[in-house]
C-alpha cells in the first residue's frame, strides 16, 4: 500500500514538476526550515516565514511572504491551525496551485504526530485554543523523527529523480537524531519530575519528553497576556506549591516571568524554543543541546 502511494505520488510529481534545479521551500517556522535543510541539503532553497523572535500565531501575510509563496514548490508548516492568521491568505493570494491544502506541495507536520491537549469543547471564551490540539510539537525530538520520515517521502515525491538521495539523507538524519535523543535523555535524567511554570502552553511536548511537571501557565487563557492581578493570584498558589523555574520563548516579553520569578524565588529562563532562538541554537541538534544546558543550569 505504502509502496503504491509512493509510486502514485512519484508519478504525479513526475508529470507535474518540470525539470528544474533546487526545490523552493517556504517553511512557516525555523524548525521546519532546519529540518528541510537536514533532509534536502543543497537540493532545496529554504526560506523561513518567521524567525525565532516572532510569534508564529501573530504575523501578517506580508507582501514579501506572498512573493515567496508564489515561487514555492513546497510549503512546510506546523498546521493544526497554528498559522491560521496568515497562512490561508498566502495560499489563496499567491496564485500557486501546488501549495493548496491537499496538494503535495503543502506539508502539515502536525498531521504526522499525536497531538496532545485536544480541548473537549472549543469556545472563544477559553482564549486562543486550537481545536485540533496543541500545535507546538517540535520540542519533543521524537516528534521530529516522525515528521522527518513523512517530509522525506514528500521531498522524494516532489523531486523523484533525487529520491535516493533524500532517502539516504533521511537515514543519516534519523540515525544521528536517535543517537542524540538517547544521549539527551541520559543527560536530562536529573530533570525528571522538576516543577516548572510556562508562559504560554508551548512547552507541553518538551515537558512530556523530559518528564517535567508544568504546574501552571502565566497566561490565564491561551494567547491572553497575564494581568498583574492574575500574576499575584498565581504567586499565592506558588507559595503552597513551589516551582523551580518559569519558561518563556524569545518572542515573549520577559516582564511577567521575571516579576513572578523574583517574588517566588525561582529562575526565569528564556529557552531558544526554535532554531535561531539563541546564539548557540544553530540547527535542530544544537537547539536541544542549548535547551538542556539552560534547563540544567537553572535547575541547580
Amino acid at each position: 500500500m505504502k509502496r503504491f502511494i509512493a509510486l502514485l505520488a512519484a508519478c504525479t510529481a513526475l508529470a507535474a514538476a518540470p525539470a528544474r534545479g533546487a526545490l523552493n521551500v517556504l517553511a512557516c517556522e525555523p524548525e521546519w526550515a532546519s529540518l528541510v535543510q537536514e533532509l534536502a541539503g543543497d537540493r532545496a532553497r529554504v526560506v523561513s516565514a518567521t524567525t525565532a523572535r516572532q510569534d508564529p500565531h501573530r504575523i501578517e501575510a506580508r507582501p514579501a511572504l506572498l512573493a515567496q509563496a508564489r515561487r514555492a514548490d513546497l510549503l512546510v508548516c506546523t498546521g493544526a491551525d497554528l498559522e491560521i492568521g496568515w497562512l490561508p491568505l498566502l495560499q489563496r493570494e499567491a496564485g500557486n496551485a501546488g501549495i493548496q491544502p491537499g496538494q503535495p506541495g503543502y506539508f502539515e507536520a502536525a498531521r504526522f504526530v499525536d497531538l496532545g491537549e485536544k480541548p473537549a469543547r472549543v469556545d472563544r471564551s477559553m482564549g486562543d485554543v486550537h481545536a485540533a490540539g496543541n500545535p507546538h510539537i517540535h520540542l519533543d525530538p521524537r516528534n521530529l523523527l516522525k515528521v522527518a520520515e513523512a517530509l522525506s517521502a514528500r521531498l522524494a515525491a516532489l523531486d523523484a529523480r533525487n529520491a535516493g538521495d533524500y532517502a539516504a539523507r533521511h537515514r543519516d538524519f534519523s540515525a544521528r537524531m536517535q543517537a542524540a535523543i538517547a544521549r539527551w535523555e541520559r543527560d536530562a535524567a536529573s530533570l525528571k519530575g522538576m516543577r516548572v511554570l510556562a508562559h504560554h502552553r508551548n512547552w507541553t511536548y518538551l515537558a512530556e519528553w523530559l518528564q517535567l511537571r508544568v504546574v501552571a501557565d502565566l497566561e490565564p487563557k491561551p494567547g491572553i497576556e497575564p494581568s498583574a492581578a492574575y500574576l499575584a493570584q498565581l504567586l499565592e498558589k506558588l507559595k503552597a506549591q513551589p516551582a523551580k523555574m518559569v519558561l518563556r520563548t524569545p518572542y515573549q516579553p520577559p516582564r511577567a516571568s521575571e516579576w513572578i520569578a523574583e517574588r517566588a524565588g525561582m529562575r526565569a529562563v528564556e529557552l531558544p524554543f526554535t532554531v535561531g532562538g539563541s546564539a548557540a541554537a544553530k540547527d535542530l541538534f544544537s537547539l536541544f543541546e542549548d535547551t538542556l544546558v539552560r534547563l540544567k543550569d537553572a535547575a541547580q
Binding site: A61, A64, L89, A97
Partner: protein, 422 residues
C-alpha cells in the same frame, strides 16, 4: 477500544501454541500502534468540515456631533454608498460573512450587511484556487482591488469612519459587479498586477451607466512591496479607474442659492497612489507596532451636465444641458501606534481640493472650499476579536461648518473570522 483489543489478544495468546506466540505479540503490537496513530492524528485543518466558515461582526457607536441632515463634502458630487450612523446611539451595519472552499478549484465568499428593513449584499464572489502561474481570478460582487483601504471592511478600519478621500471618490468604498484578474510576478520582491471589468453602477458610475453591453467601469492596478530587514515591511501601489456614468444624479446650489438637481453623463477617470509601511520590532507586533498609510487621488470628469428646471422655486436652471469638466484631488495620511499590548493610538489628516470645476453655461457657481479634517483615536482590544474605540475629530469638510465630533465605538467579531490582509 484498547482494552477490547488487548483482552482479545491476551485470550488468543493463552490458547495458542508457543510457536505462534511471538508472531501474535508482534501483531498486537502493530495493531496497538495503528490505534494510537488513528486516535492521535490531527484531522485535516480547514474551515469547519463541510460547512462554510461563518462570522458575524457586531458594530455600534455613540456619536456626539452637529445635527446635519445631509453630510456632503462641499464641492464634491455626493457619492453613493455609505454606512455612517447619525447622532447619539446607533447600530452600524452588522456584517454576516460566509466563506469556504467550493471544491478543489474555487473558493466562495459573501458578506451581507444587515440593517433595519434592509439586507445589502456587500460582497458575493468566487475566486480561483488552482489557476497557478501566479494568476487568480475572481467573479461576482467584490471590493475593488484598487487603492489600499478599499478592500478593508469597516470593522478592519483603524478609525471609526472612512477617510474623506474614499468618501469623495466612492461614498465609502468601490464595489464592483464583474470580474477581476490578478497576476503575481515570480520575483523576489512582491510585484502584482490586476485588472477589473465591472458593471459600474456604483458611484462614480451610475445605474444607467451600468445598463449596457460591455463594462461600465474598468480598473487596473500595480502593487510593489517587500521587507526591509526583519522590522519593516511596505507596499506601494498605483491604480486607475475609468467609469462611464450616464444620468448620474447629484445636487448643487445654483447661482441663486437654490438647490438644483443635476445629472451627469460622460467619463470619470481617477488615479490613486497608495502607500503603507508597517514597523514592528524584529517583526514581532504583539508588544509594539506602528502602521503608516497614505493615499492620494486625482479625478477628472468630462461630459455633459443636465440641470433640472427649478425656476418654479426661484432657481436659475432652465432644464438645459451643457458641457461639464472637473479636475479634483485629495489625500490623507494616517499613523497608528500600538504602544503597549491591547492599546493603540492614531492620528489622521484628510484634505481635499475641489480643484477646477467648469459648469459651462449651466448656472451653477463653483464652490471655493478646501475640505479638511483632523482625527485622533485611542482604541483598546481585550483580544483580537473585540475592540473599543474613542475618536475625536474636527471636521471641516462642509463649508461654513466646524463640526467637533466625539465617537465611542465597539467592534466585535464572532465565529470563524478569517485572516486580514496586510
Amino acid at each position: 477500544m484498547h482494552r477490547i483489543l488487548f483482552s482479545a489478544a491476551a485470550l488468543a495468546l493463552s490458547t495458542h501454541a508457543l510457536a505462534q506466540d511471538a508472531q501474535l505479540r508482534e501483531e498486537v503490537k502493530q495493531l496497538q500502534q495503528r490505534i494510537q496513530v488513528l486516535e492521535g492524528r490531527a484531522p485535516a485543518s480547514g474551515e469547519s468540515a463541510f460547512n462554510p466558515g461563518i462570522s458575524l461582526i457586531l458594530h455600534g457607536r455613540y456619536a456626539h456631533q452637529k445635527d446635519i441632515e445631509e453630510r456632503e463634502i462641499t464641492g464634491f458630487a455626493a457619492g453613493g454608498h455609505e454606512h455612517g450612523g447619525g447622532r447619539g446611539f446607533s447600530l452600524n451595519d452588522s456584517e454576516l460573512v460566509f466563506s469556504g472552499n467550493i471544491d478543489p478549484y474555487f473558493r466562495g465568499y459573501a458578506t451581507l450587511a444587515l440593517a433595519d428593513e434592509e439586507v445589502e449584499v456587500e460582497e458575493a464572489w468566487f475566486q480561483t484556487l488552482a489557476l497557478g502561474r501566479g494568476f487568480t481570478a475572481k467573479g461576482g460582487r467584490f471590493l475593488s482591488g484598487i487603492g489600499y483601504i478599499n478592500e478593508q471592511h469597516p470593522h478592519a478600519w483603524d478609525f471609526a469612519d472612512q477617510n474623506l478621500v474614499y468618501r469623495a471618490l466612492f461614498g465609502e468604498h468601490l464595489i464592483q459587479d464583474g470580474v477581476q484578474l490578478r497576476w503575481l510576478a515570480p520575483t523576489e520582491a512582491f510585484l502584482e498586477f490586476g485588472v477589473e471589468a465591472a458593471r459600474g453602477q456604483f458611484f462614480p458610475g451610475s445605474e444607467a451607466g451600468g445598463n449596457r453591453n460591455g463594462a461600465g467601469a474598468w480598473a487596473a492596478f500595480a502593487k510593489v512591496g517587500g521587507d526591509i530587514g526583519s522590522s519593516h515591511s511596505w507596499r506601494a501601489g498605483i491604480n486607475y479607474l475609468s467609469a462611464r456614468p450616464r444620468e448620474r444624479e447629484s445636487h448643487f446650489e445654483d447661482v441663486n442659492d437654490i438647490e438644483a438637481h443635476a445629472a451627469f453623463t460622460g467619463d470619470s477617470k481617477a488615479w490613486i497612489a497608495d502607500f503603507v509601511w508597517k514597523w514592528a520590532p524584529e517583526g514581532n507586533p504583539t508588544q509594539r507596532n506602528f502602521k503608516f498609510q497614505a493615499e492620494f487621488f486625482q479625478r477628472k470628469e468630462d461630459g455633459e451636465l443636465f440641470c433640472e428646471d427649478n425656476t418654479a422655486e426661484g432657481g436659475a436652471c432652465a432644464g438645459l444641458a451643457d458641457a461639464y469638466r472637473s479636475k479634483q484631488s485629495g489625500w490623507y495620511a494616517q499613523g497608528v501606534f500600538q504602544f503597549m499590548p491591547r492599546w493603540r493610538a492614531g492620528y489622521r489628516y484628510d484634505r481635499l481640493d475641489s480643484g477646477t470645476v467648469d459648469f459651462g453655461a449651466t448656472p451653477i457657481a463653483a464652490e471655493d472650499h478646501r475640505p479638511y479634517r483632523h482625527t485622533v483615536m485611542l482604541d483598546y482590544s481585550p483580544s483580537e476579536f473585540s475592540r473599543f474605540r474613542l475618536q475625536l475629530a474636527q471636521d471641516r469638510s462642509m463649508q461654513g461648518v466646524k463640526d467637533d465630533q466625539v465617537i465611542l465605538q465597539y467592534v466585535h467579531s464572532l465565529g470563524a473570522h478569517g485572516a486580514h490582509r496586510f
